[in-house]
């Protein structure tokens, strides 16, 4: 009976994941043992977990490691994304308490689920094995299905959860089938090994099975990042889900989708770059255009932001299509700033809403600036950043994305991108028109300015403005984090 020799396992690369899991589980247990009036502490505890995980990733910067026989890695790319995930999770937690209390939801499970979802995202970013990526994706997705339908008493939330679940599971099927075929064609599920195999076997490796596998995987990922034509779920889910979760979904998981998508395409299929660039070109154009065009006539602000988030995925795809370091760094930077600006915008949407009546209609914002000038200013900053106006992080991000495309010679793509971005200004301005240029119809006296939400807004404003004015440091980080 021979002993099985196991590979040396280094836990350092998955330290943040471990911390989050431990905190998540601890919170679950704490949740069932503390009386319901003390559940607010769960939020603080989960923030501690987020910060602890954040601390654990700092030391890993610039120290490439891999573990579990190459199933997970710790590289700058993964770490940068982990930072984005932690950030969006932290901001989401800040805005959750207020909302959930108002809607009368039981928050006990909320925080563990957010932590688990974040853990899943991290796994997606650091996984270098299709299996790890898949597992991360599913940990994320399953948590999100619940989070989307978290407000059980609310019909829209139910619908959002169900819809997200059905379509999400459906897309998982495609992703998996793609992974299976890729595995069949190359004989491995390790992403770097796939690349090695293709490099070694050249055209022989590029069987129909291989191409179909890549295509199916791409469509699976495209669903997760809500790229057209796989975006149909986004508006309904974003509209129906509890607002903090909408904020979370649009920031974290989308970035995670990009992380996995980028790693798979860039690392595993570098030799097929011409093929997937063409594919992404089409995806990017469709995604930007469809997202923007439909967003133009949305009255519901959550829905409008949902379509805008589709459009933003399109901009990020522009950088991806470029397939060069600028484009990739642009995606990293953009995802980071998108987390700030989008969650910030949602934080204000949460403040404006009241129980049962979320005031999500654009017209509900009439005269908001008169009543709450500072909040309106913050909202304006977020919206300008989303629209890509300087001097905000949104502009720098877009600049990088489009620069990448231009450098790679995709000038037309960049032009379509900027035209889209100009069109998108219309619907962002619309909100501002209501906030600043219409007379108030409401007193907005139901609003309670919860300190946690205000803190979130403050962080978001700083996170939008500072990188917009002095982006060097962050861009530098993003540059160092790209896989290319």
């Amino acid at each position: 009976m021979e002993t099985i020799v196991l590979p040396v396992i280094n836990l350092a690369p998955i330290m943040p994941e471990i911390i989050l899991s431990v905190f998540g589980m601890a919170l679950l247990l704490v949740n069932v043992f503390v009386p319901s009036e003390q559940k607010a502490y769960l939020g603080y505890l989960s923030l501690v977990g987020i910060i602890a995980a954040g601390v654990s990733i700092v030391g890993g910067w610039g120290v490439p490691l891999d573990s579990f026989s190459g199933s997970v890695v710790q590289d700058n790319f993964a770490l940068f994304f982990k930072g984005i995930f932690l950030l969006s999770a932290g901001l989401t937690i800040l805005i959750s308490d207020h909302y959930m209390k108002r809607e009368g939801c039981n928050q006990g499970e909320l925080y563990p689920l957010i932590l688990f979802a974040t853990m899943g995202m991290m796994l997606m970013a650091s996984g270098t094995d299709l299996m790890t990526v898949f597992l991360g994706l599913e940990v994320l997705s399953v948590s999100l299905y619940v989070l989307a339908g978290f407000n059980r008493a609310n019909l829209k939330s139910n619908e959002a959860g169900l819809k997200y679940f059905l379509l999400g599971a459906f897309s998982t099927g495609f992703l998996l089938y793609g992974m299976a075929l890729t595995y069949g064609a190359t004989g491995t599920t390790k992403i770097p090994k796939i690349a090695e195999f293709v490099a070694a076997n050249g055209m022989v490796a590029q069987s129909p099975m291989f191409y179909i596998g890549m295509l199916l995987m791409a469509s699976g990922f495209a669903f997760k990042i809500a790229a057209a034509p796989f975006h149909m779920w986004t508006p309904d889910v974003y509209e129906g889900a509890p607002t903090p979760m909408t904020a979370f979904m649009s920031a974290g998981p989308k970035a995670a989708g990009f992380a996995a998508f980028m790693r798979v395409l860039i690392v595993a299929f570098p030799t097929l770059k011409a093929d997937w660039s063409d594919l992404l070109w089409v995806l990017a154009v469709l995604t930007m255009t469809i997202g923007n065009l439909i967003a133009l006539n949305q009255d519901n602000i959550k829905r409008m932001l949902a379509y805008s988030s589709i459009a933003h995925a399109g901009y990020a795809l522009v950088g991806f299509t470029a397939g060069n370091a600028e484009g990739a760094a642009g995606i990293l930077f953009y995802m980071l700033s998108y987390a700030f600006m989008n969650i910030g915008a949602f934080a204000i949407i949460i403040l404006v809403g009241k129980k049962g009546e979320e005031n999500n209609n654009v017209a509900d914002y009439a005269g908001f600036a008169t009543k709450h000038p500072v909040l309106a200013l913050a909202m304006a900053i977020f919206l300008f950043s989303l629209a890509g106006m300087p001097p905000t992080a949104g502009f720098i991000g877009k600049f990088y994305l489009f620069s990448g495309a231009i450098k790679a010679g995709y000038i037309w793509l960049a032009i379509i991108g900027v035209l889209n971005s100009a069109a998108s200004v219309y619907y962002y301005l619309r909100v501002m028109v209501y906030m600043y240029m219409k007379n108030p119809t409401e007193e907005f006296d139901w609003m309670t300015l919860s300190p946690a939400v205000m803190l979130c807004i403050l962080i978001a404003v700083v996170g939008v403005i500072i990188p917009g004015v002095v982006p060097s440091y962050l861009l530098e980080l993003a540059q160092k984090a790209v896989l290319l």
Binding site: A369, M389, F402, I406, I411, I415, L419, Y436, S472, E476
Partner: protein, 522 residues
């Protein structure tokens, strides 16, 4: 770099005002007004040493340069300086700002704090755009200007303000976004380095690329100018904006477009400039005639003035694209003139609008009897706008037409001249309908004349109208070297390109010829 960062101080001084305003309580409107006025005056004072310290040569002066963003392939600097081209525009901006603030001293009653913040932010944007030598920095300021202007029109504007504001924003945005693409393309074509515009001047691009990039830049600038047929946002924006907005829009923002042509589009893409000169000249002339004709039938005084702006800027474009010293300096001067006289016109429209809350020509008539001071001032400004000799308008238009006549744009100049006559027709006709005749409307009989503040606002403008009309030399003197340098640069590169295309031995012949050009004007 050890010298005093005069430009930065000037540019960001209004920002300091913004910060201060944040801390002033919401209700103390008079404090807001005073503070904003004070800041803008100080800014103006700070900008005066730029003129006095300016050496009349072609160099960039008061240079400040420090690294700003450095990441990946990009290197952006905070690089500001002025030369003869931007000097006067900067001065015009700092000069117009206090006037603009004063102009809506009483007209804006609501959200005064926000209003003043917007105005001051706008000033930062405009000054920044004029002084930037780094294309990226320029772009940032260019876009930043949009936001406060959008709010000024949208919040404090007239009935149709939202439509006008959004239209203004989106028009400008579309153009500038394409410019961004071209800008990045240019950067990559130029190879490693920074966004310094002077560096880009030296880059030689193949004519086909130039065409595309010129189009992208030109679109952005042409929208801003605005050139026919991209001008449709302007009448709306002007009509709906509060007086200060209109004044700034006319006096400074539109110059941003023409300035863009002079500073960027032409020197960067000389071959394309050459190629597109006929087209632009055609559009300018169409603009002159068309705008004049449309102005003639306007019912609304403010709209009429807005269309006259379109016509005036047609002259500027014509002069600029004549690409000789007369034309260019005429164009530059016309920019200043237009800033002064159209700004003044908008102020005047603002005065009567404040009194009567209408701008329809038919609502007035015979005001001269009731308001003699007003009538006098209005007359002077109208004449200046028409370009009567002795006023500033004349010098500019004359130089433009002269320059155009001397260049290959001769026939355009001929047609453009008719615009002068048309301008006289519609301006005077309007003046006559408003000021003379029977004082029929009873509401007009109680109108009171301009008060001290209003006269005080107008006085500096009137002074300038005459000074620039009678003694324009100092203005031209300071800008000429820079303009000459520009002309040489553009022409050399145009011919250089031709030489490259043609036979190689032709090149040495061209070089001395290019060197001769400035000598002619000395």
């Amino acid at each position: 770099m050890s010298q005093f960062p005069l430009i930065s101080v000037m540019t960001f001084l209004p920002l300091l005002g913004v910060v201060l305003l944040f801390f002033v309580p919401k209700q103390s409107h008079s404090v807001h007004r005073m503070l904003a006025l004070l800041v803008s005056l100080v800014t103006f004072v700070v900008s005066i040493p730029l003129v006095t310290g300016f050496q009349s040569n072609a160099d960039f002066q008061f240079v400040e340069k420090m690294p700003w963003i450095a990441a990946g392939p990009f290197q952006m600097n905070y690089h500001v300086a002025i030369d003869g081209i931007s000097l006067w525009l900067v001065l015009l901006t700092t000069f117009i700002m206090p006037i603009a603030i004063l102009s809506t001293w009483t007209a804006v009653e609501e959200k005064v704090k926000e209003y003043m913040i917007c105005l001051l932010l706008l000033e930062v944007g405009m000054l920044g755009a004029f002084v930037s030598l780094d294309l990226f920095l320029f772009y940032i300021f260019w876009e930043v200007m949009l936001i406060p202007m959008y709010f000024i029109i949208g919040i404090w504007g007239g009935k149709n303000k939202i439509y006008a504001a959004v239209k203004f924003f989106i028009y400008t945005m579309v153009g500038s976004m394409l410019m961004l693409v071209a800008l990045v393309t240019l950067y990559f074509k130029a190879g490693a380095g920074d966004f310094n515009v002077l560096r880009f001047y030296e880059v030689t691009l193949d004519p086909a690329t130039q065409v595309w990039m010129f189009l992208a830049f030109a679109l952005a600038f042409a929208i801003k100018v605005p050139m026919f047929p991209l001008h449709t946002w302007l009448p709306d924006a002007h009509t709906e904006a509060p007086t200060a907005g209109s004044v700034i829009l006319a006096a400074v923002l539109l110059k941003m477009g023409t300035y863009g042509f002079v500073r960027f589009a032409m020197p960067l893409f000389p071959d394309a400039t050459d190629k597109f000169t006929p087209l632009i000249a055609t559009l300018s002339v169409i603009g002159i005639i068309y705008a004049a004709l449309v102005a003639m039938v306007q019912e609304d005084v403010k709209k009429l003035v807005a269309y006259s702006s379109v016509a005036h800027l047609g002259y500027v474009m014509l002069g600029v694209f004549a690409l000789n010293l007369q034309g260019l300096s005429g164009g530059m001067l016309q920019m200043l003139n237009h800033g002064v006289s159209t700004g003044a016109l908008f102020l005047i429209v603002g005065f009567i609008y404040e009194r009567r809350h209408t701008r329809l020509i038919t609502d007035f008539g015979g005001l001269a009897k009731q308001m003699p001071v007003f009538a006098t001032i209005f007359m002077i400004v109208t004449l200046s706008s028409i370009g009567l000799p002795g006023t500033n308008g004349f010098v500019g238009e004359f130089l433009v037409l002269l320059g155009a006549f001397e260049s290959e744009l001769r026939w355009y100049a001929v047609i453009g001249t008719s615009g002068v006559i048309l301008a006289a027709v519609y301006m005077l006709w309007m003046f006559q309908r408003v000021m003379f005749g029977e004082l029929t409307n009873p509401k007009n009989q109680t109108l009171c004349d301009l008060n001290a503040r209003e006269v005080g606002i107008m006085l500096p403008l009137l002074v300038l109208i005459f000074v620039m009309g009678v003694y324009p030399t100092p203005f031209i003197e300071k800008m000429s070297p820079s303009l000459e340098k520009l002309i040489v640069h553009v022409k050399t590169k145009q011919q250089g390109a031709v030489a490259q295309v043609e036979t190689v031995p032709a090149a040495p012949q061209v070089m001395p010829a290019a060197a001769v050009v400035p000598a002619e004007h000395k």
